[in-house]
Amino acid sequence: MNSFFTKLLAFFLCTSFQAIAQDNTLIKNDFRLSTGYENFRILDLNASPLLYSSNNLLVGLDFERNKKRYLWSLNGELSVGNSQSKKHGVRTAVFPDKPNLYGEADTTEYELNPFLSFVRFTFNFSALKQIGHSGFFVGGKIGNHFNFSGLGADSWFFNQLSLQAAVRYQKEIGINSKISAELSTSAFSYLLRQPYTLDPSLPDIGYFKAYLQTGSFFASPNDFQHFNFNLSYQYSLKNSKNKIGLQYQFMWMNHSFLENRNLSAYSNSLSLTYTL
């Protein structure tokens, strides 16, 4: 398994820097906007014993350049929503304040994980090469995935910068339709997780740098597993170069972090797309 990833990685590195003869008639650029719904589920046993589920609005922007047999793409996606324990739902903590000198007392209420307490941002750059004249493309991606959420009665975040191997299959169906499916997996990742007690406590360097210093590390596929699957359908509009479409995405990740402290998450999303 590891040698397969090594070969894919080497292939990506070789093809990324190969010179290509200019042929403008075969260059095709697409801009694609997408919007849709995402469900994200996470169980981080270092932060909480509970599975959290969030229903998010998803927006994305893609740029794809198809030049001869090479496919380059830039993709950014933002999802925002709420995140609540799947078992317990919305919870509000109510604290009665101690009465003051005059016997007056208030209560303080905190809603755990209020609306828009979940943010996820991903950014990817991929380079794929067509295999022969088939519909298959193979190559690699560099991607970053950032998560911020309310989790476990506190705030929680996670960042993953990764080098991924990718394979795509695309096929024209008739004159107007196109379907594509892409699978990618992380070969090598740089992760940022909160430290063990979620508190870095480094006074001189500030919290952000403190988290980088205490909670960041390289992870191999043995420690961190990550898969992305993307299935899309596009239909060309009459008398136009533009296309509308549907896109389904699935993501799964698992990080082994101390015994009984795993982080695992997966998401499903469905989006409408519009390609210019």
Binding site: P203, S264, N268
Partner: protein, 342 residues
Amino acid sequence: MTRKIFITLSLFILALTSCDKVLLNEEVSNDPVSNFDYLWTEFNEKYGLFEPKSINWDSAYYHYRSKINTSSSEEELYAVLKDMLMLLQDDHVGLVPTNPNLPPFTTGHLSKIDCMKDFDLSVIKNHYLADFKFEEPFFTYGILEGNIGYIHIEGFSDMPKNLEKPMDIVLEHLKDTKGVIVDVRGGYGGEDLAGQYIAGRFTKEYHQYMKTRVKNGPGPNDFTQPEFWSINQEGDFQYTNSVVVLTHRFTISARETFCLAMATLPQVTFVGDTTAGAFSNQINREMPNGWGFSISIGQWTTANDISYEGIGIPPDILVQNKEIDLLAGKDEALEKAIELLN
């Protein structure tokens, strides 16, 4: 063929949308015994003060675990957990049930005090400060009779970069006073960094005042390397005349670490009552049944390893305000501070 592929893919996608058990690890079971075990284990692995407080947490498990079984009610679980957590005597340790009939509690001495009867800022505003001002985020200040400055710090919840300008304004107003009373009674805790910055506005010299380390693993000796905290001159100017810091039993957490910093300054005297004795950082967690709880995760000591956890910082001059005096408009601790600075 296309139809078959479409159906296969659809079923595959449907499967992917609801496979929590396959795709994620197991959620911790939600029964009374599992909840007890989970809470005990979280404390066993993350609580940083068993050794300074000489608490045998294993004994607590054997004693209290026998009182819980899978048929225990929420009320029974609450009672057992409360008794067990009370062993810690820590105002940063608390439990917040989701059941509205089960009141939240903390486990330190503040849990035994019904109300704050020895301080109210309105008494100072109404009877001592003829002309008080307020500067965001949390400074009430003015000049008392006898040209003595007064600053009340309501909280320490902001970061140093947001405190420079307000402190400039406050200290500029008080720069010609013969002394300043810094009042950290009432209010709430916050960020140790805020206290470090504010204390740095009262010195031109370097002083090391605190050492901290936090749990970084499940073992009893899994702590980070100690971090040393110090103060040095902050801002464009510093106030270095005599200072009296007013404290009481509700002076807690970041307010107390601020006091540790101020205690290194030779021109500072502490008046009032002993502080709360809860210095460590606290994290908020939850149980499988959805109840919230908080844990102290480290060891906070002075630079020379003295721990005031569970004890509090005693004042130089003990003055305990009486409720009846306060209701009559008299803050005895404040008056003692004024007397010292006069």
